[in-house]
Symmetry: C2
Subunit: 283 residues, 2 copies
């Protein structure tokens, strides 16, 4: 196991437990990590291969009938860095071992079904790391803030989500739910950069400013969602994300520790190796 500068494992520090308050989390902090940006970038590189190796073992296990898989759920305000997590953390894993889906505004077909219908269609198969860039949590976040669904409908969804996720856990899925938490000021600076740089203009959407105006309503909606759906089987982690480098190593570490815990092994051959060697020699 490669050395690390983590003094306390992030799952202990960032986990949403009883009494959690989002307003207590400083988006500019770097809990548990002994180092700056430069050290953080080294830490990220140092563990890329280990994450890829563990995923490959999980995949090998699945080929022998194993059912285990990972599902990373990413939620955040715009510009918080979901894309950077995908690129720099998940990007180190073999593309064949990743199932990534970005959930946009639902299509008419999707709207005609219950809100989990489109989610179920994108779940990772055994052996894979699934990544949701946004998720079913939009149905209790933007839906709450924007009033896209009636309050009593949203109210029921927290329980539906808990049951749904428990079902996945029971079926072999390790769920890692991450809210990337940036400050309103940091978002402003990042949006400003998208406006200042012509090569970044395409990433800017005027609607982002509209959403931004509803910042405190979104924070309230997150607080409620985090409280009501952080469970033993599928806990939430709130990752301070004003420092991109920190958010990346924190999510990398969360994934790494879950996979280390699963400790997948190369499966034994399900055929007679010596017999196949003879067949091959004669071919």
């Amino acid at each position: 196991m490669a050395k690390t500068r983590w003094e306390t494992e992030p799952e202990k520090l960032l986990r949403v437990d009883e009494g959690f308050a989002l307003s207590d989390v400083d988006p500019d902090s770097t809990p548990g990590f002994d180092g700056d940006e430069e050290k953080g970038e080294k830490e990220l590189k140092r563990h890329v291969d280990e994450l890829a190796d563990l995923q490959e073992r999980l995949f090998a296990e699945s080929r022998a009938g194993g059912n285990r898989r990972i599902l990373l759920i990413l939620q955040a305000m715009d510009t918080a860095g979901k894309g950077g997590i995908v690129r720099h953390v998940v990007g180190g894993v073999d593309p064949q071992g990743v199932k990534l889906h970005a959930f946009k505004s639902p299509s008419d077909e999707e709207k005609a079904h219950d809100f989990l219908w489109r989610i179920r269609r994108q779940l990772p198969e055994p052996g894979l790391i699934g990544v949701f860039d946004r998720s079913h949590y939009e149905d209790v976040l933007i839906h709450r803030v924007r009033g896209f669904s009636a309050p009593d409908v949203i109210e029921e969804r927290y329980d539906i989500i808990r049951d749904f996720e428990q079902e996945l856990v029971d079926d072999g899925t390790t769920i890692v739910k991450v809210m990337l938490h940036i400050s309103s000021d940091e978002q402003k600076a990042r949006l400003q950069e998208r406006l200042d740089r012509p090569d970044k203009n395409w990433k800017f959407n005027p609607g982002d400013v509209d959403e931004r105006m509803l910042w405190s309503q979104y924070m309230d909606a997150y607080q409620i969602a985090l409280e009501r759906t952080s469970t033993e089987g599928a806990p939430w982690y709130v990752v301070p994300a004003d420092n991109k480098w920190y958010a990346r190593i924190a999510v990398q570490r969360l994934l790494l520790n879950e996979l280390r815990g699963l400790d997948p092994q190369w499966p034994a051959a399900e055929f007679d190796v010596e017999e196949q060697k003879k067949r091959l020699a004669g071919s």
Copy 2:
């Protein structure tokens, strides 16, 4: 543009044109590249960022209404290194910019439709690099060798494929079709390694030896497919693949040159930048 050790561009040397004979291609050769494995690995690393950057530009273009996209089709005998191409060449691109699909034996649902039905469902959206690990070519390769379809049905498929691919080209898709070409001896050595190493046993399938026994029939089926479906709009490239490092830089170069030719640009803002700066400042 970073320097290169390519003396002749691989698309000129590896393209299947009039009079092509698969039996003339030496799987152990390294056409056009002035260097050995060490130089090849440096070449691969040197161009990872450029490929990722070009894909991001293509994606940006698509957000402004652009329709262009890439489709890399990989076909090969077992162990030829399709997975290595995905991992080492495509793996350098942002996962959000890649749509990868591995086609397995068709399901009952897939069999109930025409052979292109499942293919159409996996085509890349504008801005992406789609990768097919196996493809509709299985329907004229294994189907021919194993007799899964009647000869006259297979006979019709070459034209159907040509029309289908032309339709994609007309719709903005740049198609890069690659056959990774290994020798029977090299395959034997690679299968042997999977049997010798317990951590590789899971990659071995006794059925691989059965397929191997049909080597010359497969080469015949490839020859026919290459001849009949290498078109101006969607040419085939036969990439010598006994040297994994060579196959990787050759495919990387093929993709790179296509993307350089497309020359995607950051799109201009579709909103009034100054107006949005004011809105942001006031938010």
